[in-house]
């Protein structure tokens, strides 16, 4: 008997099929730049990265961010930064970058042994 194997896919993971050439459209448009959105959820808290979006300029980025990321009072203040201006550390350097601090235990308060009689410290 032939062993039939059907390829399984998960919900939301259907294999791509080859494009039908008849309606194969290729956009030639000039895309809007990508922006990173930071939101302050509450007065007194830092702005936190919420996600990104495309917009023609900063004003539109902020307006779209309001519609997309603060539909349920998630924020009081929005920062938009064009993604290309974000410089990131290299994940491959993580060890060299952050490891040296692990051997500097004296940076932590628990390093210091004080008598129990010392209060409020």
């Amino acid at each position: 008997m032939m062993n039939i194997q059907i390829k399984k896919f998960y919900y939301g993971d259907i294999p791509d099929s080859s494009p039908s050439s008849s309606n194969d459209v290729r956009s030639t448009e000039n895309p809007w730049p990508l922006w990173e959105i930071f939101i302050r959820s509450k007065q007194g808290l830092d702005h936190k990265h919420a996600g990104s979006l495309h917009a023609a300029d900063a004003q539109m980025a902020i307006e779209n961010a309001r519609d997309v990321y603060t539909r349920r009072q998630e924020g009081l203040s929005i920062w938009a930064v064009e993604s290309k201006f974000i410089h990131a550390s290299n994940p491959d350097d993580a060890e060299m970058f952050y490891e040296p601090s692990t051997d500097k235990v004296y940076r932590h308060p628990t390093f210091y042994d004080l008598p129990d009689e010392v209060k409020h410290m």
């Binding site: 399984k8 998960y10 919900y11 993971d13 039908s20 459209v25 448009e29 996600g51």
Partner: protein
Amino acid sequence: MSLHDLEKLFQEKIDKEIKIEPKDWMPDAYRKTNLRQISQHAHSEIVGMLPEGNWISRAPSLKRKAILIAKVQDEAGHGLYLYSAAETLGTSREQMIDDLHSGKAKYSSIFNYPTLTWADMGAVGWLVDGAAILNQVMLCRTSYGPYARAMVRICKEESFHQRQGFETLLVLSKGTDEQKAMCQDAINRWWWPSLMMFGPKDSESTNSDQSIKWKIKRKTNDELRQQFVDMIVEQVKLLGMTLPDPELKWNEDRKHYDFGEINWDEFWNVVKGNGPCNKQRLEARKKAHEEGEWVRAAALAFAEKRKNKLNTKAA
């Protein structure tokens, strides 16, 4: 480091539940699988706006209309979160949209079914969003960081979708005989396609599953589907309605409900593009994109103009 070592290190991170972030090294297949899945998920959110958008102008009251608009707007947002997550893997928005329009990229087949009556808005919220939520709750713990974060945000918004759907049906279920019949009819039509949303049976493949190993997925299709059946069978009782499956029965040994066989021919047929609305959905998306082209171009031109104005002022 050799490819073998990199792959080993990668798997160790996954096993230790360390999330993978965009700039981290990842196997090509991991990138491709995520890209396909996330973009497909994004397309599903966007195409998913169409069946419900169909009823915005015909909602039975202003309250229902406001709710439906809010829900459809949420789905647009979900599409955007997901497109953004996919873009972190190195594709562009334009590419993804082109792939959707050319038929290369897929979206969930459920949206190729028509929404024929107002009760369908209830059934879609309750069953379709309900099925999607089970998948999305699982994906909140997926191994790719940007995907997981998008899912957390989406899940927060989804719970209202399912609740409003159930409530819509609840109101109908207490209405006139005609409303009751409409409610039952919508459930009858959406039940089986909702079960199909979870994909083929686990037993239909002997492939060892890479998605589970990479923790992109954490539950199998059958596990999620069973979870869904067990949940809905209880909920439908509160509506005083029935599910169109005579084989539904509590199985004391398994501690789960048994259910009948899905019509897999129908399933594959819709996946292949021959569902009731496949053509219509794609055409609607293409039309929206084409008709929006001048708006996008105008916004860019306006931004340019505004920038120049600012520059002359500053000079």
